[in-house]
C-alpha cells in the first residue's frame, strides 16, 4: 500500500519535472524562433532583392515603391530620440531612485511608489495621445512654430516613459549597497550628499548602468507614442524642433499597406530585424555590466 503510493508519487515527480522543464524550454524555443523568422525575413532585402546592406544602413534615400530603401534617416531618428530620452530620463530617474533609497521617509515612499507603478502601466498609446494633444501644441506655442511635432516632443514623451524603469532599477541597485558603507562614510564626517555621490553611486554603478541600458531598450522599441508626436518626415535630424522619423514609426505606418513580397515590405522587416539586433546587443551590454560587478 505504502509502496504503491510511493511509486505514484515517484511517477508524479517525473511527470512534473518533464512538464516544468518543457515550459522552461519554451522560452528558449520562442526566442530562437523569433530570431530565426526575423533574421530570415529581415535579410531578404539583401539576398532576395540584392539591395546593398551598406545602402540600407547609411543611405538616406527612402522611396518604398521606387526601390530606394535607405534607412539611415530612421536609424538616426531612433537614435536621437532615444538619446534625448536618456539625457532627460536617465539623470532624473537615477535621482528619484536615490531619493527613494536614501532620503524618502517610509510614509512618503509608500505614497509615491504606487504612483510610479501606475506610470509603468499607462498604455503607450495614451502617452502618445497626451503628447499629441498637450505637448505638441505646447512646443509649437513656446517656440513659435507652425507645428510642434518632432524630436523634442518624442524625446520628452520617451523620457517620461522610461522613468519608472530607471527609477526602480537604480533604487534596487542602491539598496543592495551594504549599510556598513553608509555608516563608514558618515563616521568619517561625510554629508549625506557626499556619501551618495562619492560612495554609493560608484559602488552601485553597474546596477545603475543596467537601469539606464534597460531604459534605452524601452525607448528605442517604443512605437505608438513616438509615431504620434514625431511628425514622421523621412529627413535626417538637423534640429530637435523639426519633424523626423524613427524605425518603429515607419514600420507601423507602412507595414499594413506595403505589398507582400515587395522590396518595400522586406525593407520594413530589415528595420525590425535591426531593432531586434539592437535589443540583443543591449542585453549583452547588461551582461557585461553585471559581470564587472561580480
Amino acid at each position: 500500500m505504502v509502496g504503491v503510493r510511493a511509486s505514484k508519487a515517484h511517477r508524479d515527480e517525473g511527470i512534473a519535472l518533464v512538464v516544468l522543464m518543457s515550459c522552461s524550454a519554451l522560452f528558449v524555443i520562442a526566442i530562437a524562433l523569433i530570431l530565426g523568422f526575423l533574421a530570415f525575413n529581415g535579410t531578404r532585402l539583401f539576398w532576395g532583392d540584392h539591395y546593398s546592406p551598406l545602402k540600407f544602413l547609411f543611405g538616406t534615400d527612402w522611396d518604398g515603391f521606387g526601390g530606394h530603401y535607405g534607412a539611415a534617416t530612421f536609424i538616426a531618428g531612433s537614435l536621437v530620440a532615444t538619446g534625448m530620452a536618456i539625457a532627460i530620463g536617465g539623470p532624473l530617474g537615477v535621482a528619484i531612485g536615490v531619493f527613494f533609497s536614501e532620503l524618502a521617509p517610509k510614509r512618503v515612499a509608500t505614497a509615491f511608489k504606487p504612483a510610479i507603478e501606475v506610470l509603468v502601466g499607462i498604455p503607450s498609446v495614451v502617452y502618445g495621445w497626451l503628447g499629441l494633444t498637450l505637448l505638441v501644441p505646447a512646443i509649437a506655442t513656446v517656440f513659435h512654430l507652425p507645428d510642434g511635432d518632432g524630436l523634442l516632443a518624442a524625446g520628452i514623451v520617451l523620457s517620461i516613459m522610461i522613468l519608472p524603469t530607471v527609477i526602480s532599477l537604480s533604487e534596487d541597485a542602491l539598496r543592495v549597497v551594504p549599510n556598513s558603507l553608509r555608516e563608514g562614510s558618515a563616521a568619517l564626517g561625510a554629508t549625506r550628499w557626499e556619501t551618495i555621490t562619492k560612495v554609493l553611486l560608484p559602488s552601485a554603478s553597474s546596477g545603475i548602468a543596467v537601469a539606464v541600458i534597460l531604459g534605452v531598450a524601452r525607448a528605442i522599441g517604443e512605437t505608438l507614442a513616438v509615431q504620434l508626436v514625431l511628425g514622421n518626415a523621412a529627413i535626417l535630424p538637423t534640429s530637435l524642433l523639426k519633424p523626423a522619423a524613427a524605425l518603429t514609426s515607419e514600420i507601423v505606418m507602412d507595414m499594413g499597406d506595403a505589398p507582400d513580397g515587395s522590396g518595400f515590405k522586406h525593407a520594413l522587416f530589415a528595420m525590425a530585424f535591426l531593432l531586434l539586433l539592437i535589443s540583443m546587443g543591449l542585453i549583452l551590454l547588461i551582461r557585461l555590466a553585471l559581470r564587472r560587478r561580480t
Partner: protein, 272 residues
C-alpha cells in the same frame, strides 16, 4: 496544472462553439478607409432588409484589402487603387466615385490653386503662401505615407509627370491629416471629401478654378477624384453579387454618405 489545462480547454471550446451557430450567409469586407463608410452604410441597410445575412466591414487600407482578398481572408477587398498587374484572379467591381480635396489651414489665405502651383508646393519649390497669392505665411506640407492609396490618387491626378515627392511631415490617415492641417498654421495636405467636407478649421481649395464639389467631379471640371473598387477573388457568389448590386444601385445610401454614383458621372477616367 492539469486543472488549469482543463479549464483552458473548456474556455477555448466554449469560445469556439457559438460561432458554429452563425450558419447564415456571412460576407466580410476590408480595405480602403475612404470607401468604408459607404460599404458600412450599405451593409446596414442590406442587413435590415435581409435578416439572414451578416456583413462585417473593416478598414485597414486599400492595399491591406487587396492582399486580404487575394488570400481569400475576406470576401470583398475595398480599394481606392487598381489592383497591381499580375494579381491573379481578382475581379474588379467599380462601385462609386469619390472626390478628394487639397486642404489648407485658413492662415494660408488662398481659395484656390492651379495644378502647377500644387506641384510647386508639394515639390517644395514654393515655400511661402505669398508666392501663390496668399498671406506671408510659411507653407508646411503634410503628405500621406508612400503606401497610401490617397497619395497614389494625388500623384496620378495632380502631380503630372512628377513621380516622387521630397520627404515632408507625414501623417498616415485621413483623420490625422485633417486634424494636423487644422492645427498647423500654413499647412497643406489632401484627403477624401468624406474627411474634408465637414471638417472644421480647414479650407478646401479649388483646382484650376473648379471648386471641390460633387457636381464638378461629375462634370469633369474638377480633376482630383478616383473610382472606388470592390474586388472579389474570382467571380462573386450569388449572395455577394446581390450585395454589390444593391450597393451600386441604392441611391439613398449614396445621398446619405456623399459618394458619387458611377451612373451620375459624365466623364470617365480616360477623359478626366
Amino acid at each position: 496544472m492539469s486543472r488549469s489545462a482543463r479549464l483552458a480547454a473548456i474556455a477555448l471550446a466554449a469560445a469556439i462553439a457559438p460561432s458554429a451557430a452563425f450558419a447564415d450567409t456571412s460576407i466580410s469586407a476590408a480595405g480602403s478607409t475612404a470607401l468604408q463608410p459607404l460599404v458600412q452604410a450599405a451593409a446596414d441597410e442590406y442587413q435590415q432588409k435581409n435578416s439572414d445575412v451578416k456583413i462585417s466591414v473593416t478598414g485597414g487600407g486599400s492595399r491591406t484589402g487587396l492582399s486580404l482578398v487575394s488570400s481569400k481572408a475576406v470576401d470583398l477587398g475595398d480599394s481606392d487603387i487598381l489592383a497591381p498587374d499580375g494579381t491573379n484572379g481578382l475581379v474588379d467591381h467599380k462601385v462609386a466615385v469619390i472626390g478628394f480635396s487639397v486642404v489648407v489651414n485658413p492662415a494660408a489665405g488662398v481659395k484656390g490653386l492651379s495644378k502647377k502651383q500644387v506641384q510647386d508646393i508639394f515639390t517644395l519649390k514654393v515655400t511661402n503662401w505669398k508666392d501663390v497669392g496668399g498671406k506671408d505665411q510659411q507653407i508646411t506640407v503634410i503628405n500621406r505615407p508612400a503606401s497610401s492609396g490617397t497619395r497614389a490618387v494625388f500623384m496620378k491626378t495632380l502631380m503630372g509627370s512628377i513621380d516622387t515627392l521630397p520627404p515632408t511631415l507625414t501623417e498616415d490617415a485621413t483623420g490625422t491629416v485633417v486634424q494636423k492641417v487644422a492645427q498647423t498654421a500654413g499647412a497643406v495636405s489632401y484627403a477624401s471629401f468624406s474627411g474634408t467636407h465637414n471638417a472644421s478649421g480647414v479650407s478646401e481649395l479649388a483646382i484650376d478654378g473648379a471648386a471641390a464639389t460633387e457636381d464638378n467631379v461629375m462634370t469633369g471640371k474638377y480633376p482630383f477624384w478616383s473610382y472606388e473598387h470592390i474586388y472579389t477573388n474570382g467571380p462573386p457568389s450569388k449572395d455577394i453579387a446581390k450585395f454589390i448590386a444593391f450597393l451600386q444601385e441604392d441611391t439613398a445610401v449614396f445621398k446619405k454618405t456623399g459618394y458619387i454614383q458611377i451612373r451620375d458621372m459624365k466623364v470617365t477616367e480616360n477623359n478626366r
